[in-house]
Amino acid sequence: MLNSRQLTLQRSIRYFFAALFWIPLTFFSLLLVKNTLPYFSFSQNFGFIEERAMLFLKPIYKVSFYIHIFAGMFCITATLTQFSSYILKKRRAIHIWMGKIYVVVVLVLGAPTGLYMSFFAKGSFWERMLFMFMAVYWFYSTMKGLQTIKQKNVLAHKNWMIRSYSMAMTAVTFRIYHILFYYYGVSHLHNYEISLWISVLGNMMIAEYFIYKKSKSYLKTFVH
């Protein structure tokens, strides 16, 4: 049995690490949104569009791109509220509505457009496959998250939504790795490929670690 001082210390450490995780995450998520907004000027003078000028001649690709970035932007900001225990306990309606919107945006907009665009993604065959896998996994984990909450299985819902969020966050982590590798002089294509693999696999591993940790603490409650 821990005394109150030890409990306070434990709580402080937990808050510290939570802040260490969420502050940069929030910052980079908002930065991504900020850098995505100019695309809605529908100008072609963006590096990303210029590089894919040939693809942007296809109306379907162009439409998919704008839908995808809108969906991504929305998902990343929406999820920032979803993991707040305060909102979950005190403002449950916000959690429910934001969750519903997130699910609709992912299932109907983000994942299908992402899958279509993955056929033309940059990189080799394996990078394209990775993009396809991301789209499928994002779709599947979100769908499972919805199904499990409908079955009132909160623990499974949390786990699937963590997985879904980890896929949404690849957009953010990719950019962080991309910048870091660029800074250390890695050539562009290698940088792109390495960042992509690390962001996807890394995020999946981090998600599984969180799920494992949560499940472990949950299972502990049955021991006593």
Binding site: F28, L31, L32, K34, N35, T36, F46, G47, F48, I49, E50, E51, R52, M54, L55, K58, I60, K100, V103, V104, V106, L107, V108, A111, P112, T113, L115, Y116, S118, F119, F120, K122, F139, M143, L146, Q147, K150, A171, F174, R175, H178, I179, Y182, Y183, Y184, G185, S187, H188, L189, N191, Y192
Partner: protein
Amino acid sequence: MKAIIYAGIGLFSAATVYGVVDYYNTQKTESFKKLYADEEPLTVLEKPAIKNAVLAVKKNDAAVTKNIVTINTVSKKNKKPAVRKIRLDDFSRSRIADVPLVEEVKLDLPVIAEPVKEDAAQPETITPAEEKAAEVAKPERKLSLSMFSRAPLKIKKDYKKVKL
């Protein structure tokens, strides 16, 4: 919510089928092969700087020759990594263009000796060429917030005045 799941599955399946068909159709086109083709590596060439060495040539000194030493500079990729600054504007998924560092390499060119004319009336002094401030590209990798996107990262050239 079931309707959304079915709609999602429908759209997802449509995206798969259309993606495959579109990919195979696009693959046949010539422009598709050039898609994402890596650009030529950038080499920044600056103007060759020619500097005249100065020698005072006296009128009656036949043995003295006027030496014109030409020093050429050529661009060379530096092996050292470029100095990079993090700019959040470049926080992007796009290509971060790599600008190689340029290093001045002095070439030891042969000294061209010109015989001085005997009838030179005045002692001829070739003054050193005034130090010119030439613009030499000094590439830097600046990282910025706008780089946070999937688009290729822009080339940022910083020009620094270098005294030759």
